[in-house]
Symmetry: D2
Subunit: 153 residues, 4 copies
């Protein structure tokens, strides 16, 4: 896009530890086999290895699982920018599936598009990796709500 | 809504067996613990028991898992109306999460809104059940593509 | 859907007058030629006559105009349930276009799916009428935010 | 995003003329006051001056009008990549409104995310300009269908 986006400044310098602790409490992510690969201000990457347990009828990673990973990556990208005592919850997301999630693993790259005080808009692109080559297989647009004074723990 | 919808006529009388066989091949659904509760023309219900393995950080069923179940329920509702030799794939879906998926189990009720030859539009409502009482916790709007001459097996 | 929805109770008995006054202030609706046909608790219908000024290249009503009408119908359905001193704003909407908006007029039937205190989820179905026969041509799923203590006027 | 996207090669060298001719036939765009600012392979920019006729109740450009402009910008970005004898139609779009469309004009910057043979996924960012300063006010994710052997004229 030709016009510049506002840079992001985290409200809490300890955002990465906070995101990693929250991710570790999401049993669904562990059950699917997902791991948190990168956490930066306004950005988060989640990986998922191809395993039979997450496939659909054609042997690719299930579209709903792709959505769950992308939802988490985009939501944690948002959480990097919220205050230490806030929690985040997903209001809605739209997922477009564009190619089979075929390959040895997938990565969901979440990023914040705009960080309001209450609502944050985010995106995630999901890439399928095959022998190091990436194919864009899904993209997500998401709305996140930040709840003030509600630390996760 | 006040205006009537077109009734749906399945193109393949064996649609229920075809949907059940496809669901059985989705290893991700088994891994999450989901089961196919109802299959009718233009309609499909999927159930998911609350289990620790599918929760997020607050102990509710993960929003991405809710999305995966809703995506499948709506997609299989579409598959009830496609010809026997067609496969279906999800083009996109929008999920709104409206209440925590709290309770002993959830049910995603998928239904077809409009069945075109190539594209079908569907919806799913997800209800969380607690001691028999249902709370609407999520709703999904989906686009499905039917691929002719591509039987699943 | 098989499970019941919560009935809606308006917080402000004067909701219909408030919605009609707000609609009258939307110059874009007048410019498109739209009119407010029905306002009930949790529900709103907007009509648009077919006019050359709102068409796309094939002579049907432009999809983006269909979206604008559906967005307003669903948003005003939400506004029927908010307190007298609140304003509403659209956070996001997903529109599926399913058939050409062909006919003498279209109607967008908006309804509330779930009314939270801050966020409301709504839907709209858009019907194209041709000699009294209705065709479902679009459907919308929307997120609305209610801003407390911000009366529109 | 960190992984590269596939570059786009138009199938029809005359794509810009074809897009401009189609835009000129959309009476709704003229009625709203929109103009086609840029057309490149996989990319399209549409401008809309602030005029009273397109405002909502607070005097900003109506969210539904923002959606209509963004829908067109993204759809025409898709049309730059389709064959000369194809038409395009919008299957669905999700619009997030992030800030009031306040200023002297808005621009919707549409771009193709992935161009399949039948389905194309696109995005648009909408910027509000005030004395030359741009604010990102909306973003859209869209699905487009290309219909082969159906030239627009």
């Amino acid at each position: 896009m030709s016009a510049p986006r506002t840079p992001f400044y985290p409200a809490d310098a300890g955002f990465a530890g906070r995101v990693r602790a929250s991710f570790a409490r999401q049993k669904a992510m562990a059950h699917l086999g997902a791991s948190l690969a990168e956490v930066e201000a306004g950005r988060c990457v989640i990986q998922l290895q191809h395993r039979e347990e997450v496939t659909q009828q054609h042997g690719y990673i299930h579209g709903g699982v792709v959505g769950a990973i992308a939802d988490s990556a985009a939501g944690y990208a948002a959480m990097t920018l919220t205050p230490a005592d806030a929690s985040v919850l997903t209001v809605s997301y739209t997922l477009n599936l564009m190619a089979p999630a075929a390959g040895d693993h997938i990565e969901a790259h979440g990023e914040v598009v705009r960080a309001g005080r209450t609502l944050l808009v985010t995106r995630a692109d999901v890439f399928a990796y095959n022998d190091g080559e990436a194919t864009l297989c899904a993209t997500l647009q998401q709305t996140i709500m930040a709840l003030a004074n509600r630390p996760e723990r």
